[in-house]
């Protein structure tokens, strides 16, 4: 496997990234990423949701600035300060969601962004478009309204817009996600013709087949880091199957230098113990932007950790929310210690010992502006001894909060600090303290180490192991296969809202799970 070979031959790069790091509150989105983008190449950026692809594109298109590292344009370090600046440098971006005005015609959309004091130069545009489209072999109806075009045609308009503005580098962000299979093939052919004209293309996707079919060079991102690259020479030497298996290895494989890799401690789960959590045929209706769930069934016994693996966005969050009671189930049963709880409210399920540690720490897990102390008790508002007769007992709250801060090693300037001011790892500790406190029987962890640094990742994982060791049942949802393999007793794989298989965590589990995840039989 060849590593990054970018900076030494930077002379040929249109754009190169060197050690680019971007942080958001509580999350490292990109961690010293190197990338070289060359004319005449389709450079595929591959990675799951949350791998840092969008952030990388944001920095290339001038929407965001890197915290560390630099971006070289034509070999010279150039800060890309705004989308307008990016365009001026010849970097055109076609975003995942269409950015055309549907009520205007194609020509009007193409003319948007021109100087406001000039009359739109329609004839000039028509000539330029004719020139571009004839070499690319596409036809564009300039006077059609955008809303009347198919999604594939709209995308061609967006690409055309970038071409009209003399882009040298075209970034296509998840461009195939809304296209029909035929549209995808057409886009692939169009990209080929574009690079033959000397353009550079960055093509972002999480579909392995497209990467193998359309790419010249592939970079794989994983949790903000670039974990590998397949350069063109090697790319041409391999057939499609070999490329896919190499990518699977990069995405899900064990890295030799991975400091997180820990041998799974051998734990004995008493097989004869009655399951603490039994889920049978759970179903959830799909919504506009989320897949539904269908016939989800599993059991978790005391002391057992069941992992849920899968590419992000395949129903993991829906599963967690349906179990916690935040999302209405359309069928099936959920039993906690043998008692049906599927009709109970969120609060009642929690009181009975079902805990849900959300992956959205600031969005729903905490109230960012509230002090740390109150956030410990967000799910117990009104309960004794912290409230008596509905009146807040500040002494009791602060006393218990101070205990939890010590016990869970929450680094906070004071108990009154708004929780949003803490780092991601410390916010996670607040959530861990809240969910694992007295009375927990079954704990659902949704991506518990997402965006945390190494120390906090290891600490969180140890908490989860300890939780299981105390005899609780643990459901661990994660997109990090390494994490699941290092902790779980069994791993179930979710795809399109259904469990496609369950694997005992034995020696060959890694490859079997990886194959299930990309839709191959285990």
């Amino acid at each position: 496997m060849s590593g990054s070979s970018s900076s030494s031959v930077a002379g040929r790069d249109i754009v190169a990234l060197e050690g680019v790091t971007k942080r958001f509150p509580g999350i490292v989105a990109n961690d010293s990423v190197d990338l070289s983008i060359r004319p005449g190449e389709v450079h595929v950026l591959l990675g799951e949701n949350g791998a840092g692809k969008s952030t990388l594109i944001g920095m290339l298109s001038g929407l965001q600035q890197p915290d560390e590292g630099r971006i070289l344009v034509d070999g010279k370090p150039t800060p890309i300060t705004s989308p307008r600046h990016a365009l001026a440098l010849g970097i055109g971006t076609v975003f995942q969601h269409m950015m055309l005005v549907p009520t205007l015609t194609v020509a009007e959309n193409l003319l948007l962004g021109g100087p406001w004091w000039q009359r739109p130069r329609t004839e000039e545009l028509a000539a330029r478009v004719a020139e571009i489209t004839s070499t690319l072999g596409i036809t564009v109806k300039l006077h059609a309204k955008v809303s009347e075009l198919s999604l594939g045609e709209q995308q061609q308009v967006e690409i055309l817009r970038a071409m009209v503005r003399n882009s040298r580098l075209l970034i296509l962000d998840e461009s195939t996600s809304m296209l029909t299979p035929k549209g995808i093939d057409e886009l692939g052919a169009l990209m080929r013709r574009l690079v033959e004209q000397g353009l550079a293309i960055v093509f972002i996707t999480h579909k392995l087949k497209e990467a193998a079919a359309f790419g010249d060079r592939i970079s794989v991102l994983k949790l903000g880091r670039k974990v590998g690259e397949i350069p063109p020479e090697r790319f041409r030497a391999l057939d499609e199957q070999a490329i896919i298996s190499e990518i699977v290895e990069l995405m899900f494989g064990k890295q030799k230098d991975d400091p997180e890799a820990v041998e799974r401690p051998v734990r004995t789960v008493r097989a004869e113990a009655a399951p603490l959590l039994q889920v049978t045929d759970l179903a959830v209706a799909p919504t506009d932007n989320a897949p539904g769930l269908s016939s989800i069934s599993f059991d978790i016994r005391p002391g057992e950790i069941l992992g849920i693996a899968g590419i992000d966005g395949n129903g993991q969050k829906q599963l967690a929310e349906a179990l916690a009671g935040q999302r209405a189930a359309t069928g099936g049963s959920v039993r906690l210690e043998g008692v049906a709880i599927e009709a109970l409210s969120v609060g009642e399920r929690r009181r009975r010992g079902l805990r849900y540690l959300t992956d959205d720490r600031l969005g729903e897990g905490t109230v960012g502006t509230f002090p740390v102390s109150i956030n410990f008790f967000l799910k117990q508002v009104g309960a004794a001894p912290f409230w008596r007769g509905g009146v807040e007992q500040r002494g009791e709250i602060d006393k218990r909060a101070a205990e939890l801060v010590r016990e869970y090693d929450v680094r906070t300037p004071s108990l009154k600090t708004p929780v949003a001011r803490l780092s991601g790892g410390n916010i996670q500790k607040v959530l861990l303290a809240r969910e694992l406190a007295e009375g927990a029987k079954v704990v659902i962890f949704n991506k518990p180490t997402y965006g945390l640094d190494l120390a906090n990742t290891l600490a969180s994982r140890q908490r989860i192991r300890d939780t299981a060791a105390r005899g609780l049942a643990v459901l661990l949802i994660s997109t990090d296969l390494e994490e699941l393999l290092s902790m779980c007793d069994r791993v179930a794989v979710i795809a399109n809202g259904a469990l496609v298989g369950t694997v005992e965590n034995t020696d060959d589990a890694r490859t079997r799970i990886g194959r299930l995840m990309i839709g191959l039989a285990a």
């Binding site: 969120v346 609060g347 729903e364 508002v381 509905g390 010590r406 004071s414 009154k416």
Partner: protein, 365 residues
Amino acid sequence: MSIDTAPTASATALDATSAATTRRDILHRLLMTLGPILIALVIAGCILLAVGVDPLAYYGFVLEKGLFSPLGIQQTLTRMAPLLFLAAGLIVAFRAGMWNLGGDGQFLLGAVTAAASAPVLVEILPAWLALICSFLIAMVVAMIWSLVPALLRAYQGVNEIITTLMMTFLGTSLANVLVKLAFRDPTTTVPQTRTLPVEDRLPRLFETTITSGLLLGLAAIIIVHLVMTRTAFGLKLRIVGANPRAAVHAGLGVPGLTIAVFAISAGLAGLAGAVDIIGVQGNVRADWNPAYGLAVIPAVFLARMNGFAAIGFVFLLSVLSIGGESAARRLGVPNHFTLVLVSIVLIVLALAEYFDHRYNQSRRA
């Protein structure tokens, strides 16, 4: 940003450092509130100069009539009573993140039903019981009026800013219709409700003309403040306001709380109407609409939804409106100049907030 305090640091040490920060916070808050008000007074003064009025004379008249003359200060304090109830209602709603802008409709419906019921009830019940019943009727009617926006917001997610504003237009019209058609006093020629005899109204305080409704208003706003800051119910409402998704995640019954917020907020607005009628006016004339509900909103914002600060700002608003009316008459300035003044204060305050935020960010970076 996390400061790596040693995890074993004792709780008392934490509190000692935070006490100093709190004091600095309060001082900072005070500066950030009073500074912009002074700047706004200067800007408004320039506008007065531009229209040829001596700003010092204007401010002098405002203070003299609104604050320093015995009659003026009594009027000012009397005016505060309904404003305090309205402010209390807005604090509940705003802290829960719900923008009840229908205060005027709820206020007028409360006022009309109180004006209609009180004169009838005092004839059949002991005076104190009759007044309590009128208050309750006004409150319940206003609550019912808020039900449409509340249900729409709770179960359909319809934006309450639009619905409450629309309901306030309907509410003012309905109040008018009620005065002219249903509750009209047959003994007078002007369309108005029956007048509550002065001796049956809320007692005045001591030897002054100040209504005892002022005390009720103060009690209402202080109770609201304590409920919002010290109780589980208030915390639940604040969670809904600060992060509705966290409220769902924490298992709070958000639709129920939403309806409760609207009911409380509207109920207090209805009480505001009742206290103005039963305490001061005695009847409601057709087309009467003092538009207190909208006037109070800036005061509540300036107070950052803090009950005690709101008392101060409501007092300021009363001084301005009582004194402004008089100053306007004497200097030929339009009566609505008070509104201009208040809006300048708001704009300057927003700007100050913005620059303060920018400064903090640049210092942190």
